[in-house]
């Protein structure tokens, strides 16, 4: 028996082990967490007490949504799981949009939420919400922790589930009393879950058929999606593309996964994709989907999508194959392994006629725009961001026109340099994601391309960039409109601009709030109030010097560009339409 007197603490009851709150820190450290984004509250006080001397950085965001988007941006920029921590009730419900954003795009992150004590659950306690119920449809998995004894293993499982298979967000909901409980349980070295088997055995028959289809094709096309970046298989895809001389188009999520300056690159496919990419989809006789999921923004009208092609769909997620488009061959497995195994079975080919056709489309229909007299064109701004940065930047976007212009007029050549909410289409994502990305990639130039609508949805997070001296550059393309919605109203609703005017002049009668006109808020004052450098530009010749100054300063900058108010994104294939109905006012 131990002689307690020697410790000098004889009167204290011996409490072996660690508290649940300490287990959270241990689990994060074990998972390699280097930065935790979060916001405190009553139900996570015990965890914050341990964060006080934790061996990783804690970043206090200004809204829980910002915390999740930062963790998300960090994960997209680095490939490592993002980590965030919020309190119960409103803290947790504020994460829902961020979780759904990450879920739709398959981004690994673990979100810890505080919960009221176990015996209070279901009592409508203060700041109680059924977080497990609310987050179930927007997470890959979620856990309610019932005892500190199971906490270390749950955290290890959470990171395992978040980062394996098709990645996704995982919520760990920890009641306040569990944070205080003592346990001797420790984080396991290895996680085993009998029902969760992310490793897929590739069927050799499928591989053989796949190779044969490539060898038999005369007009093959690779259609690369975000899964290519997740799998880290960019190099392998390029190898296959070059061996069999197959052109490559990419989804929005895959920008950068195949270098856009490569002769085989057709660039982005889909509603606002390049003419060449969409024509190639329409004309190819073999379409190989590598980590893409036939989103409706890519396919348009399903029945006429790639109508002349045999379709091969490679996906780690079995439920993705045949979900929206019938695949003639489904190859279920990890993209790295599939590409690695199939390339040796593929014969080199020239596909001269096809390559000639594709080259002609590329030549004839590059992304282009027509200038408007006396107006600053948003496309020009993006081109200059590309030029001034030398094409070396991590670009995050909001959603809508700014996102599409950023996709079209910058050329992405490296994976994890284009960060955007593709599936959910979350406005307010760009700024916090840019901050998260910069935390993960300190040596990169991080640029957020946003609009005057989206940036207002999480503007408060600019403080975080300034506080942490992050040299992010936020470029606001201000057209005074919710531009993409306005574009749809222009094209499909007879220009009845309803609910899209951020400036106050010209609004429908029931939206008018004052007749003075003018634009609020003043983004320059706002940026300066948050401690950032700011500049407003209105003319093309101001763009390059402003960007140069901002990029070279290594400080937080906001550059507001007053752009052509009614510039549209073209080409555009109207929703649910065939490529033949493409609107292209640039040629």
């Amino acid at each position: 028996m131990k002689d307690k007197k020697t410790t000098g603490k004889a009167d204290e009851p011996e409490q072996p082990g660690r508290t649940g709150a300490q287990c959270v820190i241990d689990g994060l450290v074990k998972a390699g967490c280097e930065v935790l984004f979060g916001y405190p509250g009553g139900a996570v006080l015990d965890i914050f007490n341990c964060i006080y001397d934790a061996p990783f950085n804690f970043v206090l965001t200004r809204h829980e949504q910002g915390a999740v988007h930062m963790a998300d941006g960090y994960a997209r920029a680095t490939g490592r799981p993002g980590c965030c921590l919020v309190t119960s009730g409103p803290g947790a419900t504020n994460t829902v949009t961020g979780l759904a954003t990450a879920y739709m795009d398959g981004i690994p992150l673990v979100c810890f939420t505080g919960q009221v004590a176990l015996n209070m659950i279901g009592n409508d306690a203060f700041q109680e919400a059924d977080v497990i119920g609310i987050t179930r449809p927007v997470t890959k998995y979620n856990f309610l922790v019932r005892s500190a004894d199971e906490l270390p293993e749950i955290i290890a499982k959470a990171f395992h589930i978040a980062t394996t298979g098709k990645p996704g967000p995982v919520v760990v909901d920890i009641p306040k009393n569990v944070q205080k409980q003592m346990t001797v349980a420790t984080t396991p070295e290895k996680v085993t879950m009998r029902a969760y088997k992310p490793d897929v055995e590739i069927n050799p028959e499928e591989l053989k058929d796949f190779a044969e289809m490539i060898n038999a094709a005369s007009r093959p096309l690779l259609y690369a999606g975000g899964g290519l970046i997740t799998a880290g298989a960019s190099g392998l895809l390029a190898e296959l593309a070059r061996k069999a001389n197959m052109p490559v188009c990419t989804t929005l999520m895959a920008l950068g996964a195949f270098p856009e300056d490569d002769p085989l690159a057709l660039r982005m496919v889909g509603m606002h994709g390049s003419v060449a990419a969409n024509y190639a989809i329409d004309h190819c006789d073999l379409l190989i989907s590598a980590g893409a999921r036939f989103d409706d923004r890519v396919t348009g009208k399903i029945s006429s999508f790639a109508a002349r092609a045999k379709i091969v769909h490679i996906d780690i997620d079995r439920s993705s194959i045949n979900k929206s488009v019938h695949a003639h061959l489904g190859v279920h497995g990890d993209l790295r392994k599939v590409l690695d195994a199939v390339t040796p079975l593929v014969r080199p080919a020239a596909h001269e006629e096809w390559m000639g056709q594709v080259a002609q489309w590329k030549e004839r229909f590059p992304f282009a725009y027509q200038g408007r007299e006396g107006e600053l064109m948003p496309q020009y701004v993006i081109e200059q961001i590309y030029e001034v940065s030398g094409g070396k930047a991590v670009v995050t976007t909001d959603v809508g026109q700014n996102q599409m212009w950023a996709a079209q007029f910058f050329r992405y050549t490296r994976p994890r340099t284009f960060i955007s909410s593709g599936g959910l289409g979350t406005m307010g994502f760009g700024l916090p994601a840019c901050i998260g990305a910069q935390f993960g990639r300190r040596d990169e130039l991080a640029v957020c391309i946003t609009g005057d609508g989206g940036v207002q949805m999480n503007f408060q997070e600019l403080v975080v960039a300034v506080e942490h001296r992050l040299p992010i550059v936020v470029v606001i393309l201000n057209n005074g409109y919710l531009g993409m919605v306005r574009q749809w109203q222009e094209l499909f609703y007879s220009k009845r601009y309803s609910g899209v005017m951020l400036s106050q002049s010209g609004r429908a009668p029931n939206e008018q709030i004052q007749d003075k006109g003018g634009y609020l808020p003043d983004f320059i004052k706002m940026a300066e109030a948050h401690g950032a450098n700011a500049r407003r530009i209105t003319r093309a010749e101001e763009v390059t010097p402003a960007l140069k100054e901002a990029f070279e300063s290594r400080q937080t900058w906001v550059i507001e560009c007053i752009i052509s108010p009614e510039a549209n994104v073209y080409p555009m294939i109207p929703p649910g339409s065939h490529v033949a109905e493409m609107i292209n006012h640039t040629v």
Binding site: R136, P137, K140, I161, R194, A195, Y196, R318, S319, N322
Partner: protein, 158 residues
């Protein structure tokens, strides 16, 4: 067509909600759902009857399979199996004549009369989906006071 899907899941809180939410959240219908323990106390078996074409059923099966709580998913409809549903029903039998007919009918379906009241009889009946439907159709002329159905359960055969 209706499909009977057997799903072995971790016997843990929240799993039922997850499975039901998954199916309803994607717009599929659940016709019946039955959950019970298995020989292994850590595993529960869910039997889900889902109407839909082959594509819908394939989607449901794949979506279920990828859940971290789901150990195995088997579409029983595609293989040799036995399925049964248990129904308890109370039928009005106001006079001796009606009662005799109902009891006869029950006997033909190997259903048991488990309760007799002055103006009704209570019947327990088990059968596959077809037999249950036939039995209920033949009972149409009588007034059904109440019915409880267990939902389909199924077991594979060699």
């Amino acid at each position: 067509m209706k499909h009977i899907i057997n799903c072995l899941v971790e016997n843990q809180p929240g799993v039922l909600a997850r499975i039901v939410g998954l199916i309803s959240g994607r717009g599929y219908n659940i016709e019946t759902l039955n959950v019970g323990p298995t020989a292994d106390p850590t595993v529960s078996k869910m039997t889900i009857v889902v109407p839909g074409d082959a594509n819908i059923i394939a989607q449901v099966t794949h979506q279920l399979s990828k859940q971290p709580d789901v150990i195995e998913v088997v579409n029983m409809t595609n293989r040799r199996h036995l399925d049964r549903e248990l129904i308890l029903l109370r039928v009005a039998a106001a006079n001796h004549h009606d009662r005799a007919e109902i009891v006869d009918l029950a006997a033909l379906f190997m259903a048991r009369v488990v309760g007799v009241q002055t103006e009704s009889v209570t019947i327990q009946m088990a059968g596959n989906q077809e037999t249950v439907a036939d039995f209920l159709r033949l009972l149409k002329p009588y007034k059904l006071i109440d019915i409880s159905r267990s939902g389909v359960i199924a077991v594979g055969r060699d």
